[in-house]
């Protein structure tokens, strides 16, 4: 194109340089954002881990004398409640701090479960092919063609809410994207000669997966896992809000929003404080996932 109009060549070269400089600036900015996002998650994890020492009060200790106290430095019981107290007189700040444990623990464990199941099924589908592949991919399609929260509600309703049930159900809700990415990677590698060579030399399938498949999909997996973490945290909070998550009195953000629903008019802080923290967490984590995708793997954008 450029060679047919020689006069514009220098201008075009300058444009290319400008464009590259802008792309570089953008990449640096994206990196800073990602750093900030990861910092936020690490901070959250630190807060969750140190909750018993950070929280000013016992999160489940009730006090009828200081019920529904507005955010204050000196409540009716003479103690400070920076985010007020709830309908049972429990300190909202302490409960929000402890609630981070449930959110991150369930969210993180669910991402690991979903990632493990999805990756395993994707590798099996890719290597075995045939009917195993058909069954796994039909299941994936079926799951995508169905609002999973309904199924989650049904399963938890029957099995009863508990930590393992929650983790497995939320994890199962997100296995499809991992399976797809690993399957396509395995399929594209399986036809390559060096894979046949490794097999002929006595290399095993697990070795091929570890040495050749995983390194290739690692960045995609990181992106998917980050986006899945945001989704898992929101799903856990939603289930807790519906009364199907971690059961009271253990504080969870979704459960707190639910408890405060009755007192929204007189004591807005009970629902609003945990809700805002949840919303901030979800937005920061999912944006971090978007930025990671822009940086590491722009091809995922269509998903």
């Amino acid at each position: 194109m450029a060679s047919s109009i020689p006069a514009s060549a220098p201008a075009e070269a300058a444009a290319v340089v400008r464009h590259a400089a802008r792309a570089g600036r953008q990449a640096r900015r994206t990196r800073r954002f990602i750093g900030a996002g990861i910092g936020f998650v690490v901070l959250m994890a630190a807060v969750a881990a140190a909750a018993p020492w950070l929280a000013p009060h016992d999160p489940v200790r009730q006090s009828l004398r200081s019920r529904l106290a507005a955010p204050t430095l000196e409540g009716p019981d003479g103690k400070s409640h920076l985010l007020g107290t709830d309908h049972l007189g429990r300190d909202v700040l302490s409960r929000v701090i402890h609630g981070a444990r449930v959110s991150l623990l369930v969210g993180g464990a669910a991402v690991l479960v979903g990632g493990a199941i999805g990756s395993a099924l994707g590798i099996v589908a890719g290597f075995r092919g045939g009917w195993a592949d058909s069954i796994i991919m039909t299941l994936a399609d079926a799951q995508l063609a169905f609002p999973f929260i309904l199924l989650a509600i049904g399963i938890i309703a029957v099995l009863g809410p508990s930590f393992p049930t929650l983790v497995v159900v939320i994890g199962l809700s997100g296995w499809v994207s991992y399976a797809r990415i690993l399957r396509s990677q395995v399929l594209s590698l399986r036809s390559r000669e060096f894979v046949d060579a490794v097999l002929a030399l006595g290399g095993s399938v697990p070795r091929i997966v570890l040495r050749h498949v995983l390194p290739n999909v690692l960045s995609s997996l990181v992106v998917i896992a980050t986006l899945e973490l945001a989704r898992a945290i929101v799903l856990e909070a939603t289930l807790s809000f519906l009364g199907l998550g971690i059961q009271p009195p253990t504080p969870s953000w979704g459960g707190m929003v639910h408890e405060g629903r009755e007192y929204l008019d007189s004591a807005w802080w009970i629902s609003t404080c945990p809700g805002l923290v949840l919303m901030a967490t979800s937005i920061v984590v999912s944006r971090t996932g978007d930025w990671l995708r822009d940086l590491l793997d722009p091809t995922l954008k269509g998903e």
């Binding site: 039909t138 299941l139 399609d141 079926a142 063609a145 169905f146 609002p147 999973f148 929260i149 309904l150 199924l151 509600i153 049904g154 399963i155 309703a157 029957v158 099995l159 945001a230 929101v234 909070a237 939603t238 809000f241 519906l242 009364g243 199907l244 979704g254 929003v257 629903r261 929204l264 008019d265 807005w268 629902s271 609003t272 809700g275 949840l278 919303m279 979800s282 937005i283 999912s286 944006r287």
Partner: protein, 308 residues
């Protein structure tokens, strides 16, 4: 025509497989829960009574037989009797369906009426303040938890502002907040997709040609771009309608809206499993049928799809 028929047949097959998978999962989950008979009877019921009810429900037969009977019942829309309402579960769920459809359709309307123009404007006025603001709101809408958005709406617009009732169903004012809450996620997705679909077409060579020949920008956007960007926009918009049904569970609970989502949650508390199963299954059927119809319409609109 033949290609189209085989395309429809393939899609139909997939929809039926999905339905079968869903019903099988419902059956398995039901069996995981163990024996439902003690729940149905008073705690001091004699053993003979327990055996009688067990035989009546067919629970003493081998599992494959139970599975076949279950599939047959599902095909006939028979999910057993509601323990709480004391009438067939399917009739109970049907009674709550109109409220859900009303909410879903209104939310869908909101999403389309707001999101498509916003997406269009964002694409045409790319990188302006308007674009950044709209896409910022859309990002929040896509990742914020629905139930908390609903709580915020209640707090700010009905308790503090006093413009809308907090919950229940009745006048149009009751409908606004739940529909808006439910629509937010769909709105965000549709606006973002409309923008990217428009941008894609705006970069095409024939748009440059249209501009080069001196066509007014309004005509370029309205006639040349919009028409070509319409297909992905129609698809994602249609798909969002199905997603709305899933989101209805949460929204209905927040706003005490008497639809099947809230019915399902309340039936869980009542341990009324026939109603839970029927509500979950009916939502799945609606969702799958909608997806199928959208696929077919998509195939009609875009001949390239049929070739796949």
């Amino acid at each position: 025509m033949r290609a189209f028929l085989s395309f429809v047949g393939y899609r139909l097959l997939r929809a039926l497989i999905t339905l079968w998978v869903v019903s099988t999962v419902v059956f398995v989950v039901m069996r995981l829960s163990g024996d439902p008979v003690p729940l149905l009877l008073p705690p001091d019921a004699p053993r003979s009574e327990i055996f009688r009810v067990r035989a009546e429900l067919g629970l003493d037969r081998p599992l494959p037989v139970q599975y076949a009977v279950f599939l047959g019942n599902v095909l006939r829309g028979d999910f057993g009797r509601s323990i709480h309402f004391r009438e067939p579960a399917s009739r109970v769920v049907m009674g709550y369906l109109p409220a859900t459809l009303e909410l879903g359709l209104t939310a869908f309307l909101f999403a389309v009426v707001v999101a498509v123009p916003v997406g269009l404007l964002s694409a045409v006025r790319r990188n302006t303040f308007l674009d950044h603001a709209a896409m910022g709101v859309a990002l929040v809408g896509q990742s914020a938890p629905t139930f908390f958005i609903g709580i915020l709406f209640i707090l700010l617009l009905s308790l503090k502002g006093g413009w809308f009732p907090t919950s229940g169903r009745g006048t149009w004012a009751h409908l606004v907040l739940p529909a808006l809450t439910l629509a937010l996620f769909a709105m965000a997705s549709v606006a973002r997709l409309t923008r990217s679909a428009m941008l894609e077409v705006l970069r095409a060579d024939y748009i440059r040609t249209a501009r080069a020949k001196g066509l007014a920008e309004v005509l370029v956007v309205a006639k040349h771009t919009l028409k070509n960007a319409a297909i992905p926009i129609v698809t994602i918009t249609g798909l969002q309608f199905g997603t709305l049904l899933g989101g209805a569970v949460v929204t209905e609970t927040v706003f005490a809206w008497p639809g099947i989502g809230r019915l399902a949650i309340q039936s869980i508390y009542n341990r009324d499993y026939p109603v839970v199963q029927c509500a979950v299954f009916l939502s799945a059927v609606i969702f799958i049928v909608l997806n199928f119809l959208i696929d077919v319409i998509y195939g009609l609109l875009d001949p390239r799809i049929r070739a796949r």
